[in-house]
């Protein structure tokens, strides 16, 4: 028993006495808390319209039922009701499809009379799920009409032909639905895979050479420190880019399978052309170069691979959090935000996948990342000249 306690005490001293080890015990809990908090906030914002949006709702054969008309008067939304004739239905549907109108409600002819004599008339709501404003106002009306239909015996009508969810009334194009789904998932997955791919090899690079004693052999050759830094970063980047492109293809190829249950009509990639693919590749290359150069700097600062991995952990947490932000699909319009490293790559990818490319923002993201990469390589060159960093044990 005494020996067990002696061994246990020694092991616990190691776990709780070493600050780095203690941090590695606490960090997973912190990561989970921060990630879930951010994810919870963004999931709550999905499908939410703009707070100040003027919802334009078009109604055919409007009901005179006060209870139904009360739905139009609500503090939460500013709703403009436009009563239109049946011959305008197709034109309004087209406008909803292209997101210039929010909602079309078509009451069956003589709706009130049929409702009152118990012949269950229909009311159809047409919306576009890829337009947040349309989705939000649709949900509001669907809920309101359903509650009345369920809770009150007088309201015996069929919403969306009785289907309820009204999938056929969703006017979003297959391309828009696909783009929405891909935008929500692919940038996040890509950023995580790009980072972990780079982390796997870059943290090992210099710290591993220090551990094995091979870096000094290189430093006594008449090779410029800058050339060593660039050679290392470029080689690691080429490896990571290769791995990343394979990952990207795999992610894109698997999205239709993964999302089979989300969209009944399936997922299409037809909305992406050569321009989009080239821009995605540009962001992949920028991300890989940025991650590799930062991680190589950390690897150089570390004395061992284990220490390098510990240094990389906070960067991984930040990258994951930024990746989660991209899942909301919201693209910032402030150009200054495209100067923020990693975030600008996440938002750049999101904007390309969402088909909302802004040339200025793409240029800002590209130029700023090239500057950050150059800065990291410069720092690496300086570190290679720092004997304390390179040879301390």
């Amino acid at each position: 028993m005494k020996n067990i306690l002696t061994i246990m005490k020694k092991e616990l001293k190691r776990f709780f006495g070493d600050r780095r080890m203690l941090l590695s015990l606490i960090l997973p809990g912190l990561i989970v808390f921060v990630l879930y908090t951010i994810m919870g906030q963004f999931i709550g914002s999905i499908g939410k319209g703009d707070a100040n949006h003027d919802y334009n709702v078009y109604i055919v054969n409007n009901s005179n039922d006060k209870s139904i008309n009360d739905l139009h008067e609500v503090d939460k939304y500013k709703i403009t009701i436009n009563e239109v004739d049946e011959d305008q239905i197709d034109a309004i549907k087209e406008d909803i499809k292209i997101k210039t109108k929010d909602l079309l409600i078509v009451f069956e002819k003589d709706f009130d009379a049929k409702k009152n004599n118990g012949t269950s008339p229909t009311v159809d709501l047409y919306y576009n799920s890829t337009n947040d404003n349309s989705q939000e106002i649709y949900t509001y009306y669907l809920t309101g009409l359903s509650e009345k239909a369920i809770n009150d015996i007088k309201y015996n009508y069929l919403i969306n032909g009785g289907v309820g969810a009204g999938s056929t009334n969703n006017l979003a194009t297959k391309e828009d639905v696909s783009s929405q789904v891909i935008t929500m998932i692919v940038p996040y997955i890509l950023i995580i895979f790009l980072f972990t791919g780079c982390m796997g090899i870059a943290t090992e690079s210099i710290a591993g050479e220090k551990e094995r004693g091979t870096i000094a052999t290189l430093l006594v050759t008449p090779t410029k420190r800058r050339d060593i830094a660039l050679g290392k970063v470029l080689a690691l980047s080429i490896t990571s880019v290769f791995s990343s492109v394979v990952t990207f293809i795999a992610v894109i190829a698997s999205v239709p399978n993964m999302m089979g249950g989300v969209s009944e009509s399936g997922i299409t990639l037809s909305m992406y052309g050569v321009k989009e693919i080239l821009l995605i590749l540009l962001f992949i290359v920028l991300a890989v170069l940025l991650f590799t150069s930062i991680l190589t700097v950390l690897s150089t600062l570390a004395k061992s691979i284990k220490e390098a991995t510990q240094y990389a952990m906070p960067i991984m947490v930040i990258t994951m959090m930024i990746g989660v932000l991209s899942m909301s699909g919201n693209i910032p319009t402030n150009p200054a935000l495209y100067l923020v490293p990693v975030y600008n790559i996440a938002m750049g990818l999101t904007s390309v996948f969402a088909g909302k490319i802004d040339a200025l923002n793409i240029i800002l993201a590209t130029v700023s990342n090239v500057a950050y990469i150059a800065g990291a390589v410069f720092a690496l060159t300086k570190l290679f000249n720092n004997e304390k960093i390179m040879f301390s044990k």
Binding site: R212, T214, A216, T217, V220, P222
Partner: protein
């Protein structure tokens, strides 16, 4: 005789971490590793730096090989300042220590070509040099075997060959026979003598008296970062063997 290496008043101080202070049993956070160290090595001689562990031998050799910089003083190799032109110095020196290793994944052949390329050795010289060194050390039979799969002795031979790829004028070996079996150690010492006969200048650091007596022309004894004695080995060992001479000097300096 031409002065190939001139070391003038080198001083190097290291900052100690709290952990290192504990190990060194000191309250000071500074350690003077090398203090006002000067010596000269001539063309075609083997110069030995002799001293106990922590005397400053390795620090001196690291300064000469441009891996670290002196706080004060300078060294000149063939008239070129180590401090001012480290890149030019790297072309002139071959540096080897048991701490410098080659990556296990690659073969001796690949590593030789790699370092030849970094040293700017042209294709023809590379083949001649490789042939000469690989044959001399018996590496040719293992040239395509991964370094990780070689014996410790063969790894050391490959390291020596690679460090000499560019045919340097000055060869700096820190503890050249450290950790080697007697056969490999003899191969290394014999080769150092061969290099000397070719007119190369060799600086070695060691605490092995017999090695200094066997191969060194002159020896500098370092204690606590200071050069406390410097002379021809033959002169120093006229009356006593080197070990006794060393301990007399050590007692004089440290008082133990």
């Amino acid at each position: 005789m031409k002065e190939l290496l001139v070391v003038k008043n080198l001083k190097k101080t290291f900052k100690l971490s709290k952990k290192q202070q504990k190990i060194e049993k000191t309250t000071s956070n500074l350690k003077v590793a090398v203090n006002d160290l000067s010596f000269t090595a001539y063309e075609g001689e083997i110069y030995g730096l002799l001293g106990p562990n922590g005397a400053g031998k390795t620090t001196t050799l690291r300064i000469l090989s441009t891996l670290i910089k002196a706080d004060e003083g300078d060294a000149f190799i063939d008239g070129i300042s180590v401090k001012e032109k480290p890149n030019d110095i790297r072309k002139k020196i071959g540096f080897l220590t048991s701490e410098l290793k080659l990556e296990d994944y690659y073969t001796p052949n690949y590593m030789f070509d790699y370092f030849a390329s970094l040293h700017g050795v042209d294709e023809k010289d590379l083949l001649d040099r490789k042939n000469q060194l690989f044959t001399r050390f018996g590496i040719d039979k293992f040239s395509e075997v991964k370094i990780g799969d070689l014996s410790t002795g063969m790894k050391q031979k490959v390291s020596i060959a690679v460090s000499l790829v560019h045919n340097p004028d000055l060869i700096i070996f820190d503890e050249p026979t450290n950790g080697l079996d007697v056969i490999t150690a003899k191969t290394v010492t014999d080769y150092l003598l061969e290099l000397k006969n070719q007119g190369k200048t060799i600086i070695i650091s060691t605490h092995i008296f017999s090695l200094v007596e066997k191969i060194c022309d002159r020896v500098g004894i370092i204690v606590n970062g200071h050069m406390v004695e410097e002379d021809y080995v033959k002169e120093l060992t006229k009356e006593k063997d080197l070990e006794d001479v060393f301990f007399d000097i050590y007692k004089r300096e440290v008082g133990e």
